[in-house]
Symmetry: C2
Subunit: 414 residues, 2 copies
Amino acid sequence: MYQLLNDLSIVEVSSFVASPTAGLYCAQMGAEVIRVDHVAGGLDYDRFMLTEEGRSLSWENLNRAKKSVALDLRSGEGRELCAQLAGQTGQCITNLPERSFLGHAAMQAHRPDNRTDMISVRIMGWHDGRQAMDFTVNAASGYPLMGGPEDWDPDTAPPVNQILPAWDFITGAYCAFALMAALRHRDATGEGSELRVPLGDVAIGTVANSGMMAEMLYRGGDRERLGNAIWGAFGRDFRSKDGVRFMVAALTAKQWAGLVEAFNLGEAIGSLEKELGVDFSAGDEPRFTHRHRLFDLFQNVASGLKYAKLEKRMAAAGTTFEKYRTAHEAAQDPQLVGDNPLFGPSPANPSGFGYPAPRSFANIPEREAGDPAPAPYLGQHSEEVLAERLGLGSGSIGDLIDRGIVRTSDKNNR
Amino acid sequence: MYQLLNDLSIVEVSSFVASPTAGLYCAQMGAEVIRVDHVAGGLDYDRFMLTEEGRSLSWENLNRAKKSVALDLRSGEGRELCAQLAGQTGQCITNLPERSFLGHAAMQAHRPDNRTDMISVRIMGWHDGRQAMDFTVNAASGYPLMGGPEDWDPDTAPPVNQILPAWDFITGAYCAFALMAALRHRDATGEGSELRVPLGDVAIGTVANSGMMAEMLYRGGDRERLGNAIWGAFGRDFRSKDGVRFMVAALTAKQWAGLVEAFNLGEAIGSLEKELGVDFSAGDEPRFTHRHRLFDLFQNVASGLKYAKLEKRMAAAGTTFEKYRTAHEAAQDPQLVGDNPLFGPSPANPSGFGYPAPRSFANIPEREAGDPAPAPYLGQHSEEVLAERLGLGSGSIGDLIDRGIVRTSDKNNR
């Protein structure tokens, strides 16, 4: 972990993917991130996949490098401790509703010296309070009805859901940014901020930011189904003689020239240009417009060559391409994982299972990257955090534990 | 635009989606973001869709609320001006290679008073320098080979590319966060940072963070194809009697209870529980394991009811659901756009076309949101920025314009 944020403590009261991701990115940059959960674990504590011993591989990756405090969040006393922790710390990421025990004002009330400088980042469903999750906002976005093979009948084609919970991950990264922006503003002015980030707004807002909303309104209808082709440029999947599937993209003049060279198609494309009266090196437009003619030429060459040969030629010509991997293949790929400095040695994960652990996406050549840290056991830091943050003595903490308001590490009782 | 970052200026030398997005998020929070492009426009200046007059709807959305400086970036003089602008400003987002005129050291060399506090965020392809773009890193991630209908033969099923360039958008948001983290560190220590964020690392790192990499290694193979079902929980698309497709999800006990109530399936599910010897309210596991039996029950009810009726019942029962929209339907949906405070009135876009414009994803109830600003014309702020940032007089700027090193607004010559 880099130590860019080592002066920062954040309380995270969260579950599922988006809010834990926001905390994860901060933790991987050196922040102290204290995840507070219900004593039995949050709603995501048993998220698939589980090991035979019942440890969630999802949870232990999304909560890497954090501390864990376990409180009885169904009791008034546990809830009060949680709000106190957030308020005393001063910055909180949560996906609890505003109308819960963790509303902004409740945290604000616990700021020391009556300061009004609390910063909260709250992930919501839809802006109007309706529930949502990644798959439901995605249904509204328009993307699932654009996916799938090009030859599907538009009138009967089913939606194709994304497997990647992309809206969760965009929202998580955005919330980490929004928290930092609010901290910067507080450093300059002393003012706190209450930030609300609806998952649904990230989705429909991205539809707008990408230009797709303007496009649909401008054309007055939907875009044609493109299958695996890239919209407005040259790119698609191809298949080699030996059945290897790979993606190819050419968005710039240089990429296009390299691709034509790798496939040795200079002459054939010259003829096609003459036939159609276009210049394919002039930009995206002719390559996209006549993509089916071009796809045929490229697939024809691919069908005659083994992937190893094609790969060599594409690499030599500076083509932008990539072989499709299954997820299991990707996990074992030396280029992606084994030889990639993004990954460090496996720390002692709660599951006891060892595997490559990622550092922060950002690497900083001049700084020490450090080794990845494991996720905590649930409640592992309850005593430490309550003592440090709230100044509770060992007697008070012992009493809270005895009464079930606080729980300590579940290392041996899972 | 909120004014959380109104003390911050950022130079952005970028193209396509990821790097412009990082600048966009900062601009929507009030930062001055100066996008510097080649005089003819960056590689993305003509990205689809184009209006009849040749204005890119993609570009004008991804570059909203920024300033534009146009320099001849093929000339030594233009490149020097660009590096000077970045260095004098102190923070830069770029997707140019490190071995270009905009390497970190080149910007650092222009810091005032020989300060060594430059912050650069550089978006790369793969960590090892290989070229990549959203669709190619996605091919490597494993997701495209998991997508598509459940009944496809795993041995012959084609990959299904995501239409959403999710890796670009995650990378953009992450880079905005990374920039803020580095600024915070500089505020505390005076030290600069050189951050490199490979698009490929965001992809394979997300595969790891999500727990999917650990899952595949733990199971020693690939996950079964799920079609539109949610992994490890209850959720899928259904179709009403009148042909409306909608997504339903139940991840919590409350969501499950609401869903069963909305579909009036208490009795049938009770019988199924007895038959299978399971308790579906106990958690994700039984609901996921027996999903096909459950899907049949729910689809059977859906097939007998019109969507309007189903929707009413699901809303009343607090179910998490959403109707699929096409992108054109989404763009015109009052709930998503028209009545959503995320969107403001259309500013005067370079295209001349008017449509709803998004604010920042984060809303801050106590602050003034302001109206969305338009993207600039290419070169619109060349003179202003060169005068303010580099202290150039009108004579020097006039000379640079005369010699084609600097270009002013392309409002009337596009």
